[in-house]
Amino acid sequence: MALGDMSPEVMMEALPLSEPVLLILLSLAGQPRHGYSILKDVEQMSDGRVVLSTGTLYGALRRLLDDDWIERFEEKESSRGRQAYRLTSQGRRNLQAEVSRMKHLTHLASLRASLSLRAAKEI
């Protein structure tokens, strides 16, 4: 069963995404990219912290393709071995869901952290 066919409850099981997968999706959010461009963008976005190998990248790309999160994008001038990918509407929705989940989590974390600080001052 592809993730695109899953109910929201089942889809939420796929979240949270691993950091490499999240960065790959973010890389494709702006524009279609080919493999090397994704590698470089992921490295740049993570300040060099996440450096993907080609094995990891294409493992993730295959899963995302199979689950209809991304699709192949035909470029006008594409040489052999330079296949571009872009997000599908399903992939965009799932990325948005993950970003919302993270926003909620960080908002909650900042609230609880401030409560904790306040409680510490009162003691």
Binding site: P16, E19, V21, G55, L57, R62, D67, R80
Partner: protein
């Protein structure tokens, strides 16, 4: 290195290789060309990273081919961040399995050797020539015990348990 890379690609299932083999090779060539201008350390890191990535990727694709599309949810490429459930370090799990397998193997081998020695030397007879295998077995057991001890310590270190000693609890 390109030749080795192409050889390692053969570890992947044929479907994956046909679909992505050329692309992966082309991307690797680009990365290699970029790293060629950098130092030997950068190149060494690249080769180690790519080899490890290919081996892990090939294993993952074979598992995926065996288990269907949902397997990737349980075998992510890296550890999930901020997961709700308890995370157990994968390396520790692997080491514990290796340790367990090692212990079982030593026990099994030990029993086999003990049985064969009992057959060779009847009870009550002391044969000088039997001392050499005995010393060898003793040494082997000693080294095995040392290795197992080291592996347990390494596994605990990987799991971060040793850091618990450094935790200081301040009460006001």
């Amino acid at each position: 290195m390109l030749r080795i890379y192409r050889c390692l690609l053969h570890l992947y299932p044929a479907v994956h290789r046909e679909q992505f083999g050329d692309e992966m090779t082309a991307v690797f060539e680009e990365v290699q060309a970029e790293t060629a201008t950098k130092g030997i350390t950068a190149r060494a890191f690249l080769y180690v990273r790519e080899t490890a990535g290919l081996l892990a990727g090939a294993l993952q694709q074979h598992v995926r081919a065996l288990g269907g599309a949902r397997v990737w949810l349980t075998f992510p490429t890296r550890g999930f961040t901020m997961r709700t459930e308890f995370r157990f370090p994968k390396t520790t799990a692997v080491l514990m399995i290796i340790i367990l397998a090692g212990v079982l193997l030593v026990i099994e081998k030990g029993e086999g050797i003990e049985a064969s020695l009992a057959r060779v030397s009847p009870p009550g007879s002391i044969v000088q020539t039997n001392m050499l295998p005995g010393i060898a077995i003793g040494l082997a057991c000693f080294y095995a015990a040392g290795f197992i001890g080291w592996a347990i310590l390494f596994a605990l270190r990987r799991s971060g348990v040793h850091r618990l000693d450094d935790v200081s609890v301040e009460r006001k």
